[in-house]
Each structure stands twice: as structure tokens, then as C-alpha cells.
Symmetry: C2
Subunit: 331 residues, 2 copies
């Protein structure tokens, strides 16, 4: 289905846009990954996924109408060239919201407090925060679910960043994608900790969208990925409901490694790992062999995200002294 | 099917054993990998595979009857403890040949001119050379195909080391495995070069047999491996027949990476790579981007085997100065 037609029919008419307040949305880290699209126009996924939102790490965004020929996009205080990929994606997303006010041009001010494009999903929090700001500017009064659907059109995983805590992205079955959005999971898990191991903060040479496409088109092994993901999702729900950390960690780690395995099996090979990524994995496995309840997940990048509980914090910090730790549910 | 029964019925009766000459068999490197057994008693594979034998790199073995209670096994001039894994495997293999002379005990002298257990398949050349020596000692006069079937019972990939040059291991369909053996491919490829990049020569902590089992039992992605392998085999035959090096290299590299991908997707994760393995892969990819026709394959270990042609030799040596190069078909 064509996204312009969908929006034209679906989005309510509203008044002339006004300036929004600053809206925040958290980054999220998937424990069961989104990897592969069944519809690249609407960002509909091949598999359901499950994430945890990163509390106060994310993106703050405000928008205001301007009298100009083009949108004006500011990222972390720097004006972005209108032809830059970043500005183009932002303007393309605004197009969805201004469908009934096509002459409107906006100034967008957005600030990330996480490293951009280093595998920490700033595009997810970015489109989620932008959706919230645009919702206010255009006085659309959309629900979180509707904003999740819209955010998904900007970047698939953004649909999970409309909610705090654990979030499942229901893949849905409809062609128009109106049943494909984030759904919060009620359970909380105080003390659950995510430690960011920064191997390399440079921009990736192959972005997630291109990586997914290559994997789906060239890796035979990808054919088994949906089976892996659907099994992992069920086991993660069990782990969250039973607060079984060993299950949560092992499923998340195998899921992430299976996703990377599909990339490694692509042609040309897609390996986001650096030598130091392997060294960090080996360290985690050694510590786990020694009895520490420590697991990791990785996104389409070289960095590791360690998973552990509060009572392992001191031991983990001893071995990863520069770790940046997030506790999505507090201590 | 039980291997003892099979051998009892199948192996000819011969006279009392005598001392053999020294027999050589080459190591082999698979371009389409053997990964996964459909029958672990008989080492019957899930998929057909294709290798190239390493000319003069391999194993030399001689056997002679001794008056003793147990076999005596010498490896590279060192007596192996009878309870060692190595001596046990050798004695277990001799059991197949002495089925009609069960009282016979042998002294086995075997020499590898390749690093043992560093991913260079010394078990393949080892069982192939031992099969040849035992064939002479027991005066069995078996064909190369029959010896390939027997060598397979010692170590799957050994069935390919009974032949020089390109060899296909036909997986076969019979329960008794009598149609599962190496078949030489007539084509030769002068100038084809294999460069051994030694990342780590230590023994692996998880051997291939255990690695295959874990992968088959725990990695969902393994379900797509037979499809990958059967496609790769067809394309490798094409590449060899057309002497298309780009096709040969790309299929071999994707096949090896897909095999490693199935390991990476296992639980617990099975990663044979070291940080330096990743660094070497990145170097190959960079050189290929720069226009050099250079590919690699890897077995269940951290080392890379570079694939290139004679006319790239100088350029490859410039970037990998310590490379050990084998040319299976000469210059």
C-alpha cells in the first residue's frame, strides 16, 4: 500500500499548525530484534519484536512553523544541510503530518543525549519524539498507538519508543499496517541493568535499512530467522512474567547473535563487529563461565549492550570499568 | 546402522597382517563445508561438500604388527598415551580393519607436516593415510572409493583426502553409507592458490564433532544450512568447470561464513573467531574493495585460508607477508 494514500485517508484534518513544546521519547534496545521488512514502503516487519525503553536516554524535539521555502532542521544545535540524509528523512516524515497543510514549513530542533548512529537507535527515539511534537503542532490529538503507527513509518523500531518499559511490536497482519505498532507490557523489573560497551562510535558504513535488505535478499539462512524470532518472543514474555533473568539474558543474547549470523551469511558479507567486539564477547562468556549472570545484546553495529541485574553491578563494573549503565526501571 | 555389523559383513577376509610401507594422504580444504551429520554412528552428512586437496601438505603413516596387549601410537615422533583421545581414535579406527583378526595389535607411526587441530584438518589426512596403510597391512586391496568410505568412519572429511585436486563428497542416500564417499573432479586449476593465515594454532576448546552437534541441536538458523550448501555446491561445480575465480571465491567465502553463522546462532554461542580473525577478514574485504581478487574460507577454527590466483600472488604477499602458500595444481 502507498503511504501517501494511507495517510490522506487516515489522518484527521486539523487547524493551522502552531509551535509545539519540547517532547521527549526514549531510545529502546530490542531483546528480540526487528530484522527484515515484509513491506518496505510501510516499514512492516517480517517478525514481531520486543524491547525495553531506556528511561531518560533518548531524544528531545520541538517544532514550530516558519515562513520559508523549506524545513529547517537542527540536530544537537547544528543546522543540517537541507540535502543531508538526516534533513531529508525528517522532512519526509513531516510530509505525513502536513498532508492537509502542504504549504507548511517547520523548524525542527532535536537533541540526542545518546551517540548518533552508533547502534544506539537514535532514529527510534528521534522519530518517536518528532511524532509527539508534530501531534501537538498539528493539534491531532492522536493516541499513543496511532503515534506508534506513524513513528513506524519514519523508522520501524521507532514504534516501540512511544512507550516506557518493556514494549512488544506486534507485527500485525493488515496490508495497511494499522495493526502493526508498539504495545506496552505491564511488568516492571527494578534493578534490570543495561551497560553500554562502546567499541566504536563512528557512523556505520551500511545502515540498518540497507543491511536488512541485503540479508533478506542474499542470505539463505535468513529463511529461518522468523522462526527464531517468534520462538524467542514467546520465551522473553515468559522470562519477563517470571522475572527469570537467566532466561531473559540467554534468549536476548541468542537472538542478537542469530540476527548477526544472518548478516554474516549475506553477500557481500555484512559484519558489523570489530576485533574489539569479539574481545568483549569473549570477556562476557568467560565471566559467565566463572559464574556471573551476565549476557549481552547487540544491534546493527559493533557495540555491546550488557544485560545484568543490580546485584551483579559491582562485579560487572570491575571488569568493564568505563561502562555506562542504564536502569530502565530504576534500582 | 551399527558400524561393527556393517564392517563385519562388508570387509573382505584377508591374511595375517604385515608391516606396511609409509602412506601419504593430503589434507583438504572444503570450499563447500561439511557441517552436520544425519547419522553420527556412520558419519553420514546432512549435505554434500566439495574440497581441494593440499598436494604435499598432509600426513604420512605406517603400521606394523606388534606383540603387545594394546596398540602403540606415535604422532610426530612422540608416543601417545593409550588413554589419550588421539590414541583412542586411532585404535577405534584400526578396529574396523582388524574385524577378522581381532587379536592383532599394531604400532602406528604418523607424521603431520601441518599444524595439528588448528583448523587445518589433520584428522582428514590422518585417517586417509591410516586407511591406506591398513589396506596394505591387511592385504585388503580395497579401491580408493572403498577406502574413502572407511576413512569417513574415522572422520567425515577424511573421505575427501583419498583423492587429489577437487573432490566432491557425495552425501549418498543409503542407510549403510556405502554411497557416501569422495569422488574426484577431473578439472585442474594451475595457479589456484591457498594462503594460510595463522591467527591461533592452539587446540580448539570445542572440536568439530561437538560443534556440529551443538549447532544442529540449538541453532534455528541451521535449518536453512542444507539449502545454502546444496546451492553452493552447484555453483562451485560451475565455477570449476568455467574456471571462474570470482564465482569460486565468492561462493566459498559465503559458504564458510554461513557455516560460522550457524555456529554463532547456537546456544551456548560457538564463536571460533579471535579478534585477529575479524581483523584479517576486514583486511581481505578492504583489499577486494580496492580491486584485488582475494577471498577466504575458514573451517571450525580461528584461521583464515585465503583464496587467490597466481597473478595476485605478489599483491597478496605484500599485505600478508608471512603467508604460507599452497598451490594444489602447481603454478
Amino acid at each position: 500500500m502507498n503511504r501517501a494514500e494511507l495517510i490522506q485517508q487516515w489522518l484527521p484534518h486539523g487547524p493551522q499548525p502552531i509551535a509545539s513544546e519540547t517532547h521527549f521519547a526514549p531510545s529502546n534496545i530490542a531483546l528480540c530484534k526487528y530484522w527484515g521488512k515484509r513491506d518496505s514502503e510501510l516499514n512492516l516487519p517480517v517478525n514481531a519484536s520486543l524491547s525495553v525503553s531506556l528511561d531518560t536516554l533518548g531524544t528531545r524535539t520541538a517544532v514550530e512553523p516558519i515562513d520559508a521555502d523549506a524545513d529547517e532542521v537542527w540536530l544537537n544545535g547544528e543546522r543540517q544541510a537541507p540535502q543531508s540524509r538526516f534533513a531529508q528523512r525528517v522532512s519526509g516524515f513531516i510530509d505525513l503530518f502536513r498532508v492537509h497543510h502542504p504549504q507548511t514549513r517547520l523548524r525542527v530542533r532535536t537533541e540526542n543525549n545518546i551517540p548518533t548512529a552508533a547502534g544506539l537507535a537514535s532514529s527510534a527515539s528521534g522519530f518517536a519524539a518528532l511524532a509527539r511534537a508534530l501531534n501537538q503542532a498539528f493539534a491531532l490529538e492522536l493516541s499513543a498507538t496511532d503515534l506508534s503507527i506513524l513513528a513506524r513509518l519514519g523508522s520501524g523500531s521507532a514504534c516501540r519508543s512511544l512507550f516506557d518499559g518493556f514494549v512488544e511490536w506486534q507485527m500485525g497482519v493488515r496490508d495497511d499496517g494499522l495493526d502493526s505498532h508498539g504495545v506496552p507490557i505491564e511488568a516492571r523489573w527494578p534493578g534490570l541493568s543495561i551497560g553500554l560497551v562502546k567499541v566504536d562510535e563512528r557512523e556505520k558504513s551500511v545502515d540498518s535499512r540497507a543491511g536488512m535488505r541485503r540479508t533478506k535478499e542474499t542470505a539463505h539462512l535468513y529463511q529461518s530467522w522468523p522462526l527464531q524470532a517468534s520462538t524467542d518472543l514467546i520465551r522473553l514474555r515468559e522470562a519477563i512474567s517470571a522475572r527469570d533473568f537467566g532466561l531473559l539474558g540467554s534468549v536476548a543474547e541468542q537472538n542478537a547473535l542469530s540476527m548477526h549470523a544472518t548478516m554474516i551469511a549475506s553477500w557481500p558479507p555484512l559484519l558489523y563487529w570489530q576485533p574489539d567486539s569479539v574481545a568483549a564477547m569473549q570477556k562476557v562468556w568467560q565471566l559467565r563461565n566463572d559464574g556471573l549472570a551476565l549476557y549481552f545484546t547487540m544491534d546493527a553495529g559493533p557495540n555491546l549492550k550488557l544485560l545484568f541485574e543490580q546485584d551483579s553491578r559491582d562485579a560487572v563494573l570491575e571488569h568493564f570499568p568505563t561502562l555506562e549503565i542504564v536502569q530502565p526501571f530504576g534500582v
